[in-house]
């Protein structure tokens, strides 16, 4: 088992772990506000243009969205399992599970990319290729602008998450963690749950709103 010492500014490894987790929570708080700004803009404009937003929402690809939701939820479960194993010092198991989660994240991105591709084809990309006309065109364009920003930023987070999980998987495989020291796995887990939760908010706003009540 590797001999791991705390960095100089900490007294013990426990303190180092505790500080790292606390830091991650605060970072996630800033992330919430980051998405919060976009959600605020979305809410405001949905109030201003209810019909346009509903109309735009009906153009979203609900099948892909739903499949992606299931994928993310599954990956979140897998990651929770990995953290659980990490606490017990089961390095190989952690590596496999994190690898699976990273794979699921990649599938998510792939589907998302396919969705973007279809939207490009249908002329739903504001500013670059937007072909809707009619009374709600402007509102729809706004919807899609916010859609691309929110899912784009979320996708960026997913990409980082995949990188983190892959790195952690490799390190776990090589035996870098033990039941005494597995903070990086724990933090990666926290991060991935956050990415998942953001999606849980985005999913109804994007895919369901326009379809409720027809």
């Amino acid at each position: 088992m590797p001999d791991i010492r705390p960095e100089p500014q900490y007294a013990t490894l426990e303190q180092q772990a505790d500080v790292a987790v606390f830091g991650m929570w605060i970072f996630l708080a800033t992330e919430v506000l980051f998405f919060g700004g976009m959600l605020f803009a979305y809410t405001v404009y949905r109030g201003v243009y209810p019909e346009g937003f509903a109309e735009a929402g009906r153009h979203t690809k609900i099948v892909i969205g739903t499949v992606n939701t299931v994928i993310l939820l599954t990956s979140s479960f897998v990651v929770a399992w990995a953290v659980h194993l990490a606490e017990r010092g089961r390095g190989r198991g952690v590596a496999v599970l994190l690898g699976v989660a990273a794979l699921l994240g990649t599938v998510f991105l792939g589907l998302k990319g396919f969705e973007y591709y279809q939207e490009w084809h249908e002329g739903l990309v504001p500013g670059l290729r937007f072909e809707e006309t009619g009374p709600h065109a402007h509102a729809m364009e706004l919807f899609y602008l916010l859609y691309f920003m929110m899912t784009g930023v979320h996708g960026f987070h997913v990409t980082i998450g995949i990188g983190l999980m892959a790195t952690m998987a490799v390190r776990a495989w090589r035996g870098a963690f033990s039941s005494a020291y597995h903070t990086p796995v724990e933090i990666t887990g926290l991060y991935w749950h956050f990415v998942d939760i953001v999606w849980i908010f985005l999913y109804p706003l994007i895919y369901l709103v326009g379809r409720s009540g027809g």
């Binding site: 830091g23 800033t30 700004g37």
Partner: protein
């Protein structure tokens, strides 16, 4: 040292200095640029923001030069660029990082008995982000200039302004990440790395105020970031988010922008409060009056500051009722400010006051901040605000708070902790002269602007009706005195590095953990992690006797 403080032990050139953060770890450029030591990073920040301060100051000088005569010497467009450079640099690259990233970075871990910040590498990263942001900003203003002012109001910034807006926004966006990371580091450090016995109510006020600032940084900056991102997208893709001509809503921008920028005002002033709360007790030799009130006043700023943003938008087309609510809430924010000012004056009352340079700057702060704050009550008043909005009254108001307040506080802190940071003492007489020049110069520059504003001179115009010229000349004359005052420390502080006397651990006979370690401090601050047994500010009228090393 000085006649008023014969008690302060100054050791005359000891044989050799013990190893300290400046000598340990090498003095190569590389050892500085890759350092993880919060003290060295603080110095990197200090050097960078000094450059920005004088860059922004040069733009201010040209603005004042232009306003000496009514037609002005610059074209309107040049003038617009000048005040935009000035505002952008001063707000984003001087005021916001000034105290937290320099003095805060240096002192916060020492004040709580920690060896470093919680995340030293992230600390270094945030400096690099800051420098990168600064380079982008300077490139934007030099390559093409920006004429939107520091607020980037839409639709002007998205539709009409020249194309360097996106670059300037990116700079602010990047520097925002630097702020967030610093804030995160501070919060975690204060929560988790306090020395044994350092309870919350034993924290120096400087720590409380930087902690509160950190919370605002972490919670408000992301909203700004996303607002700027929306702005950039609107500009790039020409989709109406904020621009009414494209079906967007300019008020949304203002709501989002001020949701950040009003709290940002407290990012700019709270750390200043912290400095003053250290300096005033030390030079009055009294514990700070009402410690808990002062501490909680810092925190309540944080809370209230998120509720009052819309007082910047009274004339932007809000409903009357909303305006009334925000006007009322804005009065509430005067309460913690008043608590602070009251507590400082109560601390001064019957104190054993000595007028050393840090104290002169601090007293200047109290006077100027109070003036600025009172004028703020005028602008929070709905009827009056409508009269003075976008006039020089507002310019005077925020300069009293931000320049008279924050810059004075920064100087007070710089002079107070200079011996700790460098191990040297500067020439007290020159420091006092500079403090006085700054105070006089400042008032001469900005008081006339209250009058100009009241008379109706509008801001952001390169020319004005001739009847305003008298007050403008006065203001520009004051600005040159002020500039002299700001340049002086550059010389006597630099001089002290080579010729100044050695300071000893505690030249001001101050309380506080940072004074228990040698000056300059060793690499990990304390040879042995201290255990805290006393509340802060245990000052007595007579300073405690000290041995030659300055240890109490």
């Amino acid at each position: 040292m000085t006649a008023t403080s014969p008690d302060r032990a100054v050791t005359a050139r000891p044989a050799a200095q013990p190893p300290n953060y400046l000598t340990e770890g090498g003095s190569t450029l590389r050892s500085w640029l890759l350092t993880h030591d919060h003290k060295r990073i603080a110095i990197l920040y200090a050097l960078t923001i000094t450059v920005f301060f004088f860059f922004g100051g040069a733009a201010a000088a040209m603005i004042r030069l232009n306003l000496v005569t009514p037609p002005g010497i610059f074209a309107a467009d040049t003038y617009n660029r000048l005040f935009s450079i000035h505002g952008i640099v001063m707000v984003w690259f001087f005021l916001i990082p000034s105290i937290p990233n320099t003095l805060g970075n240096f002192l916060l871990p020492m004040m709580i008995g920690a060896k470093d910040l919680a995340f030293p590498r992230i600390n270094l990263l945030s400096w690099y982000l800051f420098v990168a942001a600064g380079v982008v900003a300077l490139f934007a203003v030099i390559a093409g200039g920006v004429d939107t002012g520091w607020t980037f109001y839409t639709p002007f910034s998205t539709m009409y302004s020249n194309s360097y807006v996106i670059l300037a926004i990116s700079a602010v966006f990047i520097s925002g990440f630097s702020s967030i990371l610093t804030g995160l580091n501070f919060i975690v450090t204060v929560h988790r790395l306090r020395a044994p016995g350092m309870t919350w109510y034993r924290l120096p006020i400087f720590v409380w105020s930087n902690y509160s600032t950190a919370i605002i940084l972490v919670l408000a900056t992301p909203v700004l970031a996303i607002t700027l991102a929306l702005l950039a997208v609107e500009r790039l893709l020409q989709v109406g988010i904020f621009d009414p001509a494209l079906g967007g809503d300019p008020l949304l921008f203002q709501h989002l922008f001020w949701f950040y920028s009003h709290p940002a005002v407290y990012i700019m002033i709270l750390p200043g409060f912290g400095v003053i709360s250290e300096v005033v007790p030390c030079f009055s030799r009294k514990p700070i009056f009402g410690y808990k009130f002062v501490a909680w006043a810092s925190v309540s700023f944080t809370a209230v500051s998120f509720l009052v943003w819309a007082h910047h938008m009274f004339v932007a087309g809000m409903s009357v009722y909303a305006a009334l609510v925000f006007s009322l809430l804005s009065y509430i924010i005067a309460v913690p400010s008043a608590i602070k000012v009251f507590n400082w004056t109560a601390t001064l009352h019957k104190g054993w006051i000595s007028f050393d340079a840090p104290m002169l700057y601090a007293l200047g702060f109290i006077g100027l901040f109070t003036t600025g704050g009172l004028s703020g009550l005028f602008t929070a008043n709905l009827a009056f605000d409508v009269h003075v909005t976008d006039t020089y009254f507002v310019v005077a108001h925020f300069h009293y708070i931000m320049v008279g307040g924050m810059v004075s506080a920064y100087f007070a802190g710089l002079h107070f902790w200079w011996p700790k940071i460098t191990g040297r003492i500067y020439h007290e007489w020159w420091a006092r002269i500079a403090a006085l020049l700054i105070f006089v110069g400042f008032n001469l520059t900005f008081f006339p602007q209250f009058i100009l504003g009241y008379l109706g001179m509008e801001r952001r115009y390169h020319s004005y009706p001739p009847e305003f010229q008298f007050w403008n000349i006065l203001s520009s004359a004051g600005a040159s005195i002020l500039a002299l005052g700001y340049v002086m420390p550059l010389f006597y502080l630099t001089w002290s590095l080579y010729r100044g006397q050695r300071a000893g651990a505690n030249p001001w006979a101050a309380t506080g953990l940072e004074w228990t370690t040698p000056s300059p401090p060793p690499k990990h601050n304390f040879d042995k992690t201290p255990t805290v047994t006393r509340p802060p500010y245990q000052y007595r009228p007579e300073p405690e006797p000290q041995d030659a090393q300055g240890h109490a």
